[in-house]
Amino acid sequence: MFENTTEKSRHIYTVSEITQDIKLILENTFSEVWVEGEISNFRQYPSGHCYFSLKDQAALLPAVIFNRATKDIKFKIEDGLKAIAFGKIEVYPPRGQYQLVVEKIEPKGIGSLQLALEQLKQRLEKAGLFSAAHKRPLPYLPNRIGIVTSAQGAAIKDIFKVLDRRFKDVHIIVNSVRVQGEGAKDEIAQAIKDFNLLNEQLPRNERIEVMIVGRGGGSIEDLWAFNEEVVAYAIYNSSIPVISAVGHERDWTVADLVADLRAPTPSAAAELILPKKEDLSEKLQFLTSNLRRLFLDKALNFQEAIDELQHRLNLNITHELELNMNRLGTAGKKLALLNPAVLIQQYKIKTADLAKQIYIRTLHFVKLKESGFIKAAEKLSTLSPLNILSRGYSITFKMPEAEVVKDAGNIRTGDIVKTKLHKGDILSQVMEVTKNG
């Protein structure tokens, strides 16, 4: 081919010339291009410039991101990542090389913010910021609550609305911060630290017991401050338990993942720590009725114990009573045997017996005496003066006294005397009295 070409017709480029032409053609043709490929051999130099290659199965395109462009990149560029880069092709004559000068780069299939978030989440997870072991329990019925949010924002209004419906026995301290835009992340992080510093200055019983960190809803860009590493570490290092309350129910921010508890909205956060008055009231009633029931049970138990004792006592008494009744019965029988009525009857019989005997014996005695008397009377009759008269003797009585005359001196002449003979009497008048003796 070289042999067939004449010197005249030949246009010979210098290396610089041809490189310049190539540069012009390439750079004019590919001044604004999108290139899709997999990142490989990524490296960043202290200057801030990043070098890597975009490649696919058959080709490789060197690429560079200059320092000024790296600031707009939210995610971390890593080898193996599929990306779409926007920029221009630039030729570097000294090396005869071309490369893509990247102005923008996005991960393929997912927004760069999402990717950045995923990457940050992975990093923080590795560092242990989301560890369940690190999460602290929330205080029950906290007395002092800190809130990190904008004093002018929707979040604080929502929290106050909840507060008005809830048990209000709380002291709330607001640390107002910007919640979006430049500087928001640093203000939020500082506010969290400040609450911790404040707590160190407060007496133990006046300390903030829990804080809510959050804002009302917004786009992912609006919420971005809550996805920042500095906020994540401020929450992680807070000695006060943190409830995150970023108004974005669907997605979890980094702050949500680090926080001790995640509430989907600021209102929900307030509801989590401010109990309903009715709930407390109900709890109080429950406790009080339990208290009454338990005490009543207790008292009833004692009552039952007393009843039981009483019952046993009664049983014993009844037993004792029965014993005594038996003894009484026995004694009664014995007593009955000793009944005086019976004795009286016996004595009556005995008395009657004796009376009978007395009668019999008396009769006998009387008969005995009677026969004695008859004998005595017979004997007596033999001694009677009248018997003497039968033998011729007489008895003279002075009349009218019928005095037996034993002395003639007692008789005067003329006295009337009666002479009793064995048979009949003689009445006579004294003629003469002869006194002798």
Binding site: Y140, L141, N143, G146, A151, Q152, G153, I156, K157, F160, L163, F167, K168, D169, V170, H171, I172, I173, V174, N175, S176, A191, D194, F195, L197, L198, Q201, K277, L280, S281, K283, L284, L287, T288, N290, L291, R292, L294, F295, K298, A299, F302
Partner: protein, 78 residues
Amino acid sequence: MAEVKFEETLKRLEKIVDDLEKGDLSLDEALKRYQEGIELSRLCAQRLDTAKKKIDILVKGKKGEFELKPFDEAKTED
């Protein structure tokens, strides 16, 4: 701010109910606990009705000193 801390009162009441539940108290002790419990219950109920909120805003001075100022809720209105 509160002469009676609701939380502590409620906790004490819970403790008393627990004690009674265990059931190994003498009748005298049970009666004491019961009387205290009823009083605590009354205090809690009172506290529920009279509770007031207090809202401050944290202000940081130039030297980093903290100050609490009453929060003006009206300013949150749009």
